[in-house]
């Protein structure tokens, strides 16, 4: 190789390294290495306060998971939460999007208002809802009593705690889901609905047989996003319920946190993390499948 060529190659390397180097170094240190390491720590046993003193124990942590009553309970709680969010939030968000899809100023303003909780933090939302849901002095029971009903127990009851959190998260997230649906609806040309109307289709038929099929890409995407968001839930349990009463709101991520930082058992917590990560990746892969099918 000639000298000038070598020199050009060197200077190109310097340019690329200068532009991309800092980003890559941090990505490797704070993303790629930790992703590899969580698999390793899931096969180890150690105390969080003495991370250098680790023992390799093979798949023992995973064996323990399979018979851990609380872990199985946490998976059930998270799965229930995910399904509840899909079944309740998606139809509601789509209905909101249908009602608020226009571009008039008033409608845009209402969309902004519905979206605004998305910009608040989950901690703020949970703290506020802790008070709204308070059985003795909360606004919710204030409204119920005003309407002549008896107040509810909300988060102090094992059967009402998880539904209360679902209601809260729907209030928090629905603006985001609605915006995705609005974007999807606005991308559908109106000629299809018009053609259907000419053929005598009513509003419901147009929605069911024209809009809904054309919206399927957005819908699949929304399903995946909500599944992953709901599976990631942590703060409501930490701030409001500590997983209770009697583990009825024990989200997987909260259980993971508890094992790592309360029981100082990061090896076992890593095994939970690996199961969690695998589930999220499977959902994401299923999304690709479904999306490529809807393209065809």
């Amino acid at each position: 190789m000639s000298k000038p060529k070598k020199k050009a190659r060197y200077s190109r390397f310097i340019t690329v390294a200068g532009f991309l180097g800092p980003f890559l170094v941090l990505l490797v240190v704070f993303r790629l290495i930790p992703i590899a390491e969580v698999v390793l720590t899931s096969l180890q046993q150690f105390n969080l306060l003495r991370p250098d003193d680790r023992e390799f124990i093979g798949a023992d942590n995973f064996v323990r998971l399979a018979s851990d009553y609380r872990f199985l309970k946490s998976m059930r709680v998270s799965a229930t939460f995910v399904i509840g969010m899909l079944v309740l939030q998606i139809p509601l968000a789509l209905a909101l999007a249908m009602a608020l899809r226009g571009s008039q100023r008033g409608i845009r303003r209402i969309r902004t208002i519905v979206f605004s909780p998305v910009t608040m933090s989950i901690v703020v939302v949970t703290a506020i809802w802790r008070l709204l849901l308070d059985p003795a002095n909360g606004i919710f029971n204030g409204v119920l009593e005003r309407l002549g009903f008896e107040g509810l127990d909300f988060i102090t009851s094992t059967s009402q705690a998880l539904p209360s959190l679902m209601l809260m998260i729907i209030w928090y997230q629905i603006g985001f889901t609605m915006i995705l649906f609005v974007a999807g609806l606005q991308a559908i040309p109106t000629v299809y609905a018009e053609a259907a109307a000419v053929d005598g289709a009513g509003p419901w038929q147009r929605f069911r047989f024209v809009t809904l099929p054309l919206l399927s890409r957005t819908t699949v995407f929304v399903v995946v996003i909500i599944t992953i968001f709901s599976f990631q839930q942590f703060a409501p349990a930490y701030v409001m319920t500590r997983g209770g009463p009697s583990d009825s709101t024990l989200f997987v991520v909260y259980y993971l946190y508890q094992q790592a930082f309360s029981f100082l058992d990061p090896g076992y917590a890593s095994a939970i993390a690996v199961v969690f990560l695998a589930t999220v990746l499977v959902v994401a892969l299923l999304q690709r499948r479904l999306l490529s099918r809807t393209d065809a």
């Binding site: 532009f19 990505l27 390491e37 969580v38 933090s121 901690v123 703290a127 957005t218």
Partner: protein
């Protein structure tokens, strides 16, 4: 003038897409819209109003619900005195501001330079590397919480503010967003500058950056929100009370199983939210648009 306008309107009416019969009459839609808006405004309104009330008035006005529930009669600053005094949330606000501002600036620098490399420089392994970076978007932070904690401690970052933002600034989302923006800028622009002998840094800084201001604004706003609202990572990595961030400080006013400290929660929630709500109302087009677009592309 008026005639012209009328003609234009008539023409628009002719060309406008056929009006599909709406299933719901107009006045009902307005009423519905207002009801929906109230569902989202009322709780926040109540929080701000009640944060100026003494505890007895909060309870007195909450149940049954009347207009007084949403109006700060018997106004007092006691809750804020407690929040800023005994609970030290002023310090937490400053810490959160330091973290969020640092995170925004460093994210902008790292993501824009990285995005330039992928958009304008050719080097071996470029495609594979980009796919790997995008792949990390699929990995939820919660799943790598433990190795992240071990890594930060190993690097001696434990219990320091940079430990909160350093792991976040190489943002795959930001790189992706800005790369899209760079790709949309015509190459003729930088080719001309390169022929004139400008360095890649000049092209990046003087030619391309000014052309992607909307994308930069979106990244600034979303990164600020992310940073300001972050909870799990600061909860884990910061222990010293004087370094606490606002979300963690607020979380500690709610103690599960105990009676809540209403004044502290209301005051704390208000000061933790007002900065971002103002930011949101000023810059909402960047947020809503950015969220929807980036989500759809991702």
């Amino acid at each position: 003038m008026a005639g012209l306008k009328l003609m234009r309107r008539r023409r628009e009416a002719e060309q406008a897409p056929m009006r599909l019969s709406a299933p719901v009459p107009g006045y009902l839609r307005v009423a519905l819209g207002i009801a929906v808006a109230l569902v989202f405004i009322a709780p926040v309104w109540w929080v701000v109003a009640a944060s100026f009330k003494p505890q007895f008035a909060i309870f007195r006005d909450a149940s049954p619900v009347t207009a007084a529930t949403f109006l700060p009669f018997d106004a007092t600053l006691d809750n804020y005195r407690e929040v800023f005094g005994r609970l030290g949330m002023g310090r937490a606000l400053i810490n959160s501001t330091i973290v969020a501002v640092s995170q925004v600036i460093l994210t902008l620098v790292l993501c824009s330079t990285g995005a330039y490399a992928f958009s304008r420089l050719r080097f071996p392994g470029r495609r594979v590397l980009f796919i790997i970076i995008l792949g990390t978007l699929l990995v939820p932070f919660e799943s790598i919480l433990i190795p992240m904690y071990l890594m930060a401690s190993r690097l001696g970052l434990g219990d320091m503010l940079p430990a909160v933002f350093l792991p976040e600034i190489a943002s795959a989302f930001g790189l992706f967003l800005l790369r899209q923006a760079f790709d949309d800028v015509p190459r003729e622009l930088d080719d001309a500058a390169l022929v004139d002998g400008a360095s890649h840094f000049r092209v990046y800084f003087d030619v391309l950056l000014p052309n992607i201001k909307p994308a930069l604004a979106t990244l600034v706003v979303i990164t600020f929100l992310w940073s300001w609202n972050g909870f799990l990572w600061p909860l884990v990595i910061i222990q010293r009370p004087e370094l606490q961030l606002i979300q963690v400080a607020l979380a500690q006013t709610v103690v599960p199983g105990e009676l809540p400290n209403w004044g502290a929660i209301l005051g704390g929630a208000t000061i933790a939210t007002v900065p971002v709500l103002i930011l949101f109302l000023l810059l909402q087009r960047y947020i809503v648009q950015g969220f929807a677009e980036s989500a759809m592309k991702g």
